[in-house]
Symmetry: C2
Subunit: 371 residues, 2 copies
């Protein structure tokens, strides 16, 4: 049995235990997790329909049939052609499951146009989200998953160390040029594309936590937030360093950097089985608040990382999720001074039987060799 | 008034005319179209709420506030913090619109987890899709939109001509290497990233219409499907050529290529205002059926192209959409011989007052200079 077949069986067991009737996935990480078929969401009707008991059905556009059969072990693949009405074909296929007034769990990221169609063909059903059964499975990573995340993290570590080593050679490049250089190196090191849009936030752009990269030129002494990742076997890395390429940064920045670094270390130290997500957030937040920057730490401390770069468990203030061995998440406190600079330091960690292991080990300071 | 403000006003007029009460967008092309704020979908609650009358509200995570204010001209931006329950905050904000038993149009690509929340906070409302008001606006491109698509198409034309000129130098490269080379050239020519996953389908891989690129090595005489695109000012290109790098292809391929090229020309010739989408599809399909390959043409003839690479109008068999000046779509018949090869030839066209204009003008034959 493949890992995918095993996961689909576990999902069926959970559906049956809960009294839910049907799981309906569309192209998503959930779909890959349960079937091995990886595809981007698109405007064509493509569903994986898994009943609580019995065999699953793939409902796919004709031109996907060969790929779906190759990637998954699902035998029952129904197709619809471009000149057919997919909603009417879907009505017939879904009708075979005899859901009636039952409960259907739809993929959390399923587009409204498709959930509207499912509601149309299942007018008496009630609806929930696929994560109700899949999130508990996906939250604890198995060895193969951990291995992929580890390999992706090692690539990101190597690239951030190499980019830091550019030192004053990076001064004069635009953020976008530096981002392309990072991306080129990720692929050269064996990464499969990017796990999210590369962030190179220099000077005041670093104060916008979701700034990508732009035309601003990196100057000597500028704090630069470098947040980027790649994938290995579908699993992502996610790590952040805040560095200075050549020149001396301001004293204000040096102080903030030290505070964020301490906060990050305190949060990592708080990770152990049985601790709550909120405990980890609090450990970081207390350090930053004590230093007087509490109102500049405007986001949560971290997020789970798996097939999705952002998934459970979320490391938020008051978060009640109990940490369990096998959970992987980011620890990434930050302080943002609008108009001046930002600092964020981020590592992935995996919860172990008696604490945690950091998956990123690249240098965390701000200095570059030529500074 | 910016184009974005003008479009939001037009959407309000349409909402009011239809008796609908509220448009709810989330990060999507629709959101960019109506506000100028471009962002990828994410797991945080971020909505643009546009009532039929009165002022719109942005409901965004705290860390997005600055970016949303910079990108849009919307004054009323409400934020929620990571330690708040966004659904409860949303309930309060949505409550101000007094929707009651009214009708809400949600973004077509809104994730189920967010539509479930809107249904939760608006238990008496009925729901439809945003495209009911936005698709008619987005279907006819204005001059600025056409200009962006034209510039993106010129970049793609230049790159496919340059890649074809590699001739036998491309023999021995893997599909993935050739894809990276194409992507490097798109960016060097001024393109902004990719408009979709680059397809390099060599030999039998060309018979899978949605194959990306893999480890297969391009050999002399192999038919290779090259389907790729980039963006300019958020608007995409989309074009396909099927070429042979060095060596002689099979006679079977040469025949199929000639049939597809003729079918593509026939379909383009059928484009004019007042014609139906189905007429264009039929023009291509008739040529391919007459040549005996009808069952190998397993997809529609084309799709609209705008902010979304796939949008209305869809050029499908029997499609009743009447073509209007300003519509932009692909014309891309194909023939796929499983286990052997595929052929697809694709240009974008814009409907003009008396016919159409092709937006791609690169060479359509299969030969490369060194063949």
């Amino acid at each position: 049995m493949t890992p995918f077949e095993r996961r689909a069986r576990e999902a069926q067991t959970r559906l049956a235990d809960r009294g839910d009737d049907l799981l309906a996935l569309f192209p998503s990480r959930n779909l890959f997790y349960a079937t091995g078929f990886a595809e981007e969401p698109g405007e064509r009707h493509l569903f994986f329909l898994l009943p609580a008991t019995g065999d699953p059905v793939f409902f796919v556009p004709e031109l996907y049939e060969e790929q779906v059969r190759e990637a998954s072990r699902v035998d029952d693949v129904r197709t619809w052609a471009d000149d057919e009405d997919p909603t009417e074909r879907l009505r017939a296929v879904v009708g075979e499951f005899d859901v009636g007034r039952g409960r259907v769990l739809v993929d959390d990221t399923m587009w409204a146009r498709f959930t509207q169609d499912l509601r149309d063909v299942l007018p008496d059903a009630s609806f929930g989200l696929a994560s109700e059964v899949l999130a508990p499975l996906r939250r604890r990573k198995d060895d193969a998953e951990l291995d992929a995340i580890r390999r992706a993290s090692r690539i990101a570590d190597r690239v951030v160390d190499d980019v830091r080593a550019l030192g004053s050679d990076a001064v004069g490049m635009t953020e976008a040029e530096l981002a392309r250089e990072i991306e080129r190196r990720l692929v050269a090191a064996g990464g499969d594309g990017l796990s999210f849009e590369t962030i190179v936030g220099s000077g005041p752009n670093g104060a916008k936590p979701h700034h990508g990269s732009g035309d601003r030129i990196v100057e000597a002494g500028d704090p630069v937030v470098l947040d980027f990742g790649t994938r290995v076997d579908e699993y992502p890395s996610d790590q952040t360093r805040t560095v200075v390429f050549g020149g001396d940064p301001s004293a204000a920045f040096c102080e903030v950097h030290a505070v964020v670094r301490e906060a990050q270390a305190a949060a990592v130290a708080a990770v152990e089985p049985g601790a709550r997500a909120g405990d980890v957030d609090a450990a970081a937040r207390e350090v930053i608040e004590a230093a007087g920057y509490g109102d500049r730490f405007i986001h949560r401390t971290g997020h789970g990382v798996g097939l999705d770069v952002h998934e459970e468990p979320y490391i938020v203030a008051g978060g009640g999720v109990e940490l369990e061995p096998g959970m992987v998440f980011s620890v990434e406190p930050g302080v943002y001074v609008p108009g001046e600079f930002g600092v964020r330091i981020e590592d992935l960690v995996v919860v172990t039987d008696d604490g945690c292991e950091r998956l990123n080990e690249s240098e965390r300071g701000w200095a570059s060799p030529a500074t």
